[in-house]
């Protein structure tokens, strides 16, 4: 196995996805176009570009949904992308909604149960241990005081669940806004998860996990980058490190979820999916076999623990007339 296994023919892949988007949106879902939320990241940029090529730029509506804790880069890069595609857009600042829902207040109250001095002028994020030893993925909260002093504290169950539950308002609020425009224009909502996120449950149920179609959910992150280059996505977007853009402090996806850079995570996932033993994959991934072994186990345990996120509402008894 080599790193080349993830090479795709970008032109052919794009053409296949575009044909499928046309069929799905116009025929299957019977909608007139697509709504795409643009985060300034590579995934949503690629999805918007694919939709514009598939449906025509006049049938794609781009939404910017910033809030207080987003990096200003997100809106700037999102706008750059929309301008390059020539699609209609709208900015909806969701901060007031989140304030009204108590998102920030509930999160901050939960943080204060472990770091009492946390308050005005502080920033925060939550992180996982950055190691490939067989440790448990237990979150810690990191805060920075107005004077720049960092403090870290491990989270207990209650604080951890409350912080995550409160910040999940962000993804859900964004999705509600996307559906407002979709309902209004009779469009479908495009989801932007890539394969890593989709497979490993890195999304919020009924938040960014919700969509009418998910055109890149079968592509590894490295493959999304290949498509991005082919589609002419601006370089600044393609070279931006993936962030969660959810906490006020800069937080990489590795810190928050994957514990590995996406190129390595991609290769591990590919190898595991194709039954390649860890020892054989190790050289291509660039990690000791023991670490690859551990990643394989992590992948399984994440699949198990996030199964709930993939499940649609479960019924007590089938309703025969309704095809799920």
């Amino acid at each position: 196995m080599t790193a080349d296994v993830l090479k795709i023919n970008a032109a052919a892949t794009a053409a296949a996805i575009e044909a499928r988007i046309r069929d799905l949106v116009l025929v299957n879902l019977k909608r007139k176009g697509a709504v795409v939320a643009l985060s300034g990241g590579v995934d949503s940029s690629v999805v918007a570009a694919l939709c514009a090529r598939a449906l025509g730029k006049e049938r794609v509506f781009g939404l910017f949904l910033p809030e207080r804790d987003c990096s200003p880069d997100s809106l700037r890069l999102g706008r750059m992308l929309a301008a390059s595609l020539g699609i209609r857009t709208c900015v909806e600042d969701i901060t007031p909604i989140l304030e009204a829902a108590g998102c920030y207040r509930r999160r901050d109250d939960a943080i204060r149960t472990v770091i009492p001095e946390y308050g005005d002028g502080y920033t925060c994020k939550i992180v996982l241990p950055q190691t490939l030893d067989a440790t448990y993925p237990v979150y810690s909260v990191v805060v920075r005081s107005p004077e720049g002093v960092l403090k870290k504290a491990r989270l207990n169950a209650e604080a951890c669940l409350s912080i995550i539950a409160a910040t999940n308002f962000k993804q859900r609020t964004r999705k509600m806004m996307e559906y407002y425009y979709a309902d209004r224009y009779n469009y479908a909502v495009a989801g932007t998860p890539n394969r890593l996120e989709f497979d490993q449950g890195f999304f919020v149920k009924n938040g960014d996990g919700a969509a009418d179609f998910k055109p890149i959910a079968h592509l590894y992150k490295t493959q999304v980058y290949q498509l991005a280059e082919f589609l002419g996505i601006p370089e600044e977007i393609r070279t931006r490190p993936p962030t969660t853009d959810t906490y006020p402090m800069e937080q990489s996806q590795e810190e928050f979820y994957f514990a590995l850079p996406s190129e390595q995570m991609d290769l591990c996932l590919y190898a595991k999916n194709h039954g390649i033993p860890a020892a054989e994959a190790a050289a291509a991934v660039g990690l000791p076999a023991k670490s690859v072994e551990h990643v394989y186990r992590m992948v399984d345990s994440k699949r198990k623990s996030t199964r709930y996120l993939h499940q649609r509402p479960l019924l007590v008894e089938d309703v025969a007339e309704i095809q799920h």
Binding site: P129, A134, T135, Y136, V138, N156, C160, L161, K304
Partner: protein, 86 residues
């Protein structure tokens, strides 16, 4: 004493993660492999151990070797309790 401790641990795991169904859980069964404890479960377990045994669990302690079965928990606890007595 050892037996009482084992029973307490078993009872906590069975009540909180198996909802009372014993499912023939053996003392060697891996919680992770059997899907008994997820990432929220491990937090609940840590809180319980810290509260019930008045110990402090450090970040370095959070490895599978210490928590992944009743037997491993027993070994971890006896090490911890010995240290805290010293």
């Amino acid at each position: 004493m050892q037996n009482a401790q084992r029973d307490t641990l078993r009872q906590f795991v069975v009540e909180n993660f198996l909802f009372g169904q014993v499912d023939n859980l053996s003392d060697q069964d891996s919680f992770l492999e059997k899907g008994i404890i997820d990432s929220t479960g491990i937090l609940e377990l840590i809180s319980f151990l810290e509260r019930h045994y008045r110990i402090k669990i450090a970040d370095e302690d959070l490895i599978e070797q210490n928590f992944d079965s009743i037997d491993k928990l027993m070994a971890f606890l006896s090490r911890k309790l010995r240290v805290s007595k010293d």
